[in-house]
């Protein structure tokens, strides 16, 4: 060892000292190597763990657009005033030394008990000589006292600041010291929101008066907004607050999560992943007291992708408006408008609706009670989840089955009594069509129960059920919103089951089936598919709701146009017969659906009034109208169902007429009153539904010079 050898050889003791020193220094170097090289990563991690807080930043949610690109669900900016607590530190200190501490001293002076508590430290004899140390230890605060006083200084600064902001904005702001203290304990590195959703006036006031207030700043946040209120609410669905740790699949451990939402119904839920995008990560570096020091973005957010629907805003709003005219906000029912060529759903309405905006903020108890009303059930999407008895609209299927099986000759006329006597001593089935002679067309347009029961019994249950199945009944359509129900057909299994229960299927049951009653339910959407199939020559289409989902970076992945799920396989001449009968139902004198007529548009329809009985007592009526138009070249299928209506012809047919009128105007290129978003307030939209009018468009028109 060079350095030691330099020492003189005879100096053994100095060499021992040199060895000790060298060993000591090597121990230090070894320790440094261990810490800074071997364990550097571990310490770098703990350094990060204690001073870096990861914040999950949700991405801006994708939009939901109608077929023409009008946003049905978008994001609006919310301007919030935030308090950056770390910028108030000097104010805290100032408040402490100039206000809180002098006040405490003054209290001390008045109350000797307090003073005794603070001069607990005993003095040593020599301290008598030292003036300085005497005064210092004489009034020393205990740690607890100091902590309490500092806390009250912080609370005072906080409430003064918030009050100053409130005064400047002309809006009293809630000052909650509990909230502040909780924020101080838990979320110190994040800004504390003090005022949300500023109006433009308040924003102007803010920039004019608040910029001088320390620690206060304005921040923009994207808030989900449904500009048309409850429009297409059941299709769009709604969101729910979801920024808790447990529903996060991300493996990163976040200290904080900013406000985020998750779709829980409708398309918001079905396409949640695409709409949500990918959350970003922000790293806040905090000091030893937890104050924010600086922030950096570790991973930028990836904005959510937009979804374009097949819905047409104008037709959708026309359908909603038309349906709401039946019984105002308590109308219960559904309407479906479908393009019979492509399967595109142009409108999908369920009434009553809800306003998805309400789910974002706090809901009033009244709103909550209405949402959960057992009878109205506004959250239920009746178009896909409502299983109703079809009533006379099922005669389309019965007629086709009878024609195909050859038991029905359309030219042949039969005489009927105006009711259908059931075998045994069971009650006869009433008929709205009077006694007289009926051929197929007259029986169809007068909706003669006797005629269809007669031929239905001749055809037999299994052939009727088979025909229904060919038109998609008893099966889900596969529309991406739900929960979709499949409806019910009395198939062979069911009949076998009845037999086992010693309650076999009877001719009376077949009679009921022939007029769309009894063990049979369908959904409005299924009826739209069926009507479209009748109109387009037998192609049973899969209803299409999504046109395209925007792929990343602006690309789109279009959902292919609907393809026929299957062909119903019904000879064209039978379909022609049905179509002609449907036209007659609307356009001819005796037709039950005359109220649906749109002159020159060739509306073809079928009314239905299903009776809901408990035992023998009539408890409710389901009134239907299924239609397509124009007769010559069918393009639109419209299905309207209303619960507790009067009759299909009087209740539902007019609704369909209004929808067809709007469609016709639209086809002719006549500009109709534009559907405009209702202010950003959710309450306005609810009001519109409540009085049953589509007020905003008119109001806008009236307001124009």
């Amino acid at each position: 060892m060079l350095i030691i050898d330099q020492l003189q050889k005879d100096d053994a003791r100095l060499r021992v000292v040199a060895v000790v020193v060298l060993v000591g220094l090597l121990v230090l170097a070894g320790g440094l190597w261990r810490l800074q090289v071997m364990a550097a990563h571990r310490y770098a991690r703990s350094e990060e763990a204690q001073s870096v807080r990861l914040v999950r930043v949700p991405a801006v949610r994708g939009k939901i657009l109608d077929r023409n690109g009008i946003a049905l669900a978008e994001n609006r900016p919310s301007y919030d005033v935030n308090l950056y607590v770390e910028e108030l530190r000097s104010s805290f200190a100032h408040e402490y030394t100039n206000q809180v501490l002098p006040n405490f001293r003054a209290q001390q002076a008045q109350n000797p008990a307090l003073k005794v508590a603070t001069t607990a430290e005993t003095r040593r004899w020599w301290q008598v000589f030292s003036r300085k140390s005497r005064t210092k230890s004489g009034q020393r605060l205990t740690l607890e006292q100091r902590r309490d006083l500092q806390e009250s200084a912080r609370v005072a600064v906080y409430s003064n600041t918030v009050q100053a902001v409130g005064q400047s904005l002309g809006r009293p702001l809630a000052v909650s010291s509990e909230r502040f203290l909780k924020h101080y304990r838990q979320d110190l590195a994040l800004p504390l929101p003090v005022a949300e959703n500023l109006t433009p006036t308040q924003m102007a006031l803010f920039f004019e008066r608040c910029l001088g207030i320390p620690g206060v700043d304005l921040e923009v946040q994207a808030i989900r907004s449904y500009p048309f209120g409850s429009l297409a609410a059941h299709v769009l669905g709604h969101l729910q607050r979801a920024d808790e740790a447990d529903n996060d699949p991300d493996p990163l451990v976040f200290r904080y999560r900013l406000r985020d939402y998750q779709g829980v119904a409708g398309l918001e839920a079905r396409f949640d992943e695409a709409l949500r995008g990918r959350a970003g990560v922000k790293a806040l570096r905090v000091n030893s007291q937890g104050y924010r020091h600086q922030e950096s973005i570790l991973q930028p957010t990836e904005p959510g992708r937009s979804v374009r629907l097949t819905l047409d805003l104008e037709i959708q709003s026309a359908a909603e408006r038309a349906l709401a005219q039946v019984a105002g906000s308590s109308t219960r029912g559904a309407a479906v408008v479908m393009d019979v060529r492509s399967g595109d759903l142009l409108a999908l309405v369920s009434a009553p609706a809800f306003d998805p905006n309400e789910f974002l903020g706090g809901m009033t108890p009244e709103e909550f009670a209405r949402l959960n009303d057992a009878k109205l059930r506004p959250q239920m999407n009746r178009a896909v989840s409502g299983a109703y008895a079809p009533g006379s609209i099922f005669k389309i299927i019965v007629g086709l089955a009878a024609l195909e099986s050859g038991v029905l000759d359309p030219r042949e006329s039969h005489h009927y009594l105006g009711y259908w006597p059931l075998p045994g001593n069971a009650r006869s089935i009433d008929d709205t069509a009077p006694a007289g002679d009926y051929d197929f067309k007259r029986a169809f347009k007068r909706s003669s129960n006797a005629y269809f029961i007669d031929h239905g019994i001749k055809t037999g249950r299994s052939r009727i059920v088979a025909m229904a199945r060919r038109f998609g009944l008893g099966q889900k359509t596969g529309v991406p919103i739900g929960p979709e129900v499949s409806g019910f057909l009395p198939d062979d299994d069911y009949v076998a089951e009845l037999k086992d229960r010693r309650d076999p299927w009877t001719e009376g049951d077949t009679a009921h089936l022939s007029i769309g009653q009894g063990a049979l339910t369908v959904t409005p959407l299924q009826m739209a598919v069926m009507t479209a199939a009748v109109a387009n020559g037998g192609r049973v289409l899969e209803p299409r709701l999504i046109q395209e989902v925007e792929a990343g970076a602006g690309e789109v992945s279009p959902v292919p146009p609907s393809f026929p799920r299957r062909d119903a396989g019904v000879p064209m001449r039978y379909l022609d017969l049905i179509r002609a009968a449907m036209l007659a139902d609307v356009e001819e004198v005796e037709g039950t659906g005359r109220e649906a007529a749109v002159p020159g548009f060739g509306v073809c329809g079928k009314t239905g009034t299903a009776e809901v009985k408990q035992g023998r007592i009539l408890v409710d009526k389901i009134t239907w109208f299924v239609a397509f138009a124009p007769y010559e070249s069918p393009r639109y299928a419209v299905v309207v169902v209303v619960e507790s209506g009067g009759s299909g012809g009087h209740t539902s047919a007019p609704v369909a007429r209004k929808i067809f009128e709007v469609i016709r105007r639209r086809e002719a290129g006549v500009p109709s009153a534009p559907v405009v978003p209702k202010g950003s307030r959710a309450g306005v939209a609810a009001g519109v539904v409540a009085d049953g009018t589509w007020a905003v468009a008119e109001r806008q028109e009236g307001g124009r010079p």
Binding site: I3, V21, Q36
Partner: protein, 394 residues
């Protein structure tokens, strides 16, 4: 004894240049990192520079007089230091429960720093007597007595670290002076046994059986170092939670120093880029003095810390070389004393910053901020140079 170098080297250097350069470099590093650790507070850095200037002037003045003449004043210095240590008990300024400073107008003066140097000089003077006398028990006892008096006074301040520093310095000087190894072994053995018993007493004995009345914070530091649970055995769950929190707080400084050093990694975060100090994780009052090594290690990494240790190596071995070349036993003992003093400081301070040593408040020579420490460190260097300068003047 010292003619050899002269014959081979016609113009031997008057100064020990490696020593001088290492000292100047350490002062530069000190200014840079005092500046960094005070977050760019120029005032503190400027004050440190003033202390360095004062210290340099003092060191140069020391070099003007042959150390033999200085040594005659050793006892005056020693008793002066004792007097100051007594004085600090009376008029000292209380800071965090310790009275270590005497106020002199705007400045504060730390007698224990000067006492260390004075004791070293007194020991050198005392031990430079004829070799035969060192074998006498009463001479050895006197030597121990010379150290024990200031040791107890400094311990009373309380400043455990500064007191402890005296022990290895004394042992090194006695060893080099020629006190028989057998005797030294007894002293060391006794010290180890007594020290071990005292530590065990502090850590394990119930309150009323504690012989050494340490301050609570000193006891906590020892408990942290030895990894002992704060909570007594029969503690209730609430008490246990309280003690756990207390332990966390007490271990905080050690933990943060370790994180600083470790997170510096190989090359560090860059000058003034360290976060541990800037964000207040390192103790604000200690970052520029007792914990300055953590800041250096964090900002300059393993490379920088090894360079600092390297500079100390140069100083210490230059000192040992000077001791070896000194013309007489006085010079040799003076140089050994200074080396012992510096080495102990470096080892305890750096060791504390990297978790090898318990936390004690002693400065890193020439790097830590502090007037008394800086001046004394430079005076010690002046002494070394003095021994070097006058090695051949008979």
């Amino acid at each position: 004894m010292s003619g050899k170098g002269g014959e081979l080297n016609p113009r031997p250097s008057r100064f020990s240049w490696p020593l001088l350069s290492a000292v100047l470099l350490l002062m530069t590093v000190s200014c840079a990192f005092v500046h960094s650790s005070t977050l760019g507070d120029g005032g503190t850095t400027a004050k440190q520079m003033v202390w360095f200037t004062v210290g340099l002037v003092g060191a140069v003045s020391l070099c003007l007089v042959d150390y033999h003449i200085l040594a005659r004043w050793a006892w005056v210095g020693y008793w002066g230091a004792i007097l100051l240590l007594l004085l600090v008990m009376v008029i000292g300024v209380d800071r965090n429960g310790a009275r270590r400073w005497i106020e002199l107008g705007p400045f504060q003066f730390q007698p224990s720093e000067f006492a260390k140097l004075a004791v070293t000089m007194a020991l050198a003077q005392f031990l430079s007597r004829p070799l035969e006398e060192l074998r006498l028990t009463n001479v050895v006892f006197k030597t121990l007595g010379i150290v024990l008096l200031p040791f107890v006074l400094i311990l009373k301040e309380p400043d455990l670290g500064s007191a402890i520093v005296l022990v290895p310095t004394m042992l090194a000087m006695m060893f080099v002076a020629g006190v028989p190894v057998r005797m030294l072994a007894r002293i060391v053995g006794l010290a180890v046994v007594v020290g071990g018993l005292l530590v065990a007493d502090v850590l394990f004995a119930p309150e009323k059986f504690r012989l050494l009345k340490l301050k609570e914070y000193q006891r906590h530091r020892l408990m942290v170092y030895f990894g002992k649970d704060f909570a007594p055995k029969n503690a209730t769950p609430e008490q246990r939670a309280y003690y756990r929190e207390l332990q966390r707080q007490k271990a905080w400084n050690v933990q943060q120093a370790l994180i600083s050093v470790g997170s510096g990694g190989l090359t560090g975060k860059g000058w003034r880029q360290g976060t541990q100090n800037a964000l207040g994780y390192l103790p604000r009052l200690g970052a520029h003095n007792d914990f300055i090594f953590s800041v250096i290690a964090e900002e300059s990494g393993f490379v920088g810390s090894i360079l600092v240790v390297g500079l100390y190596t140069v100083v210490l071995f230059s000192g040992l070389k000077i001791a070896g070349q000194a013309r007489d036993r006085l010079g040799r003992l003076l140089a050994t004393g200074v080396v012992g003093l510096w080495f102990t400081h470096v080892f305890i301070n750096v060791g504390m910053n990297i978790g090898l040593m318990p936390v004690t408040g002693i400065p890193l020579p020439l790097l830590s901020y502090g007037g008394s420490a800086a001046v004394c460190a430079l005076l010690a260097m002046g002494l070394l140079q003095n021994v070097h300068l006058y090695r051949r003047s008979y």
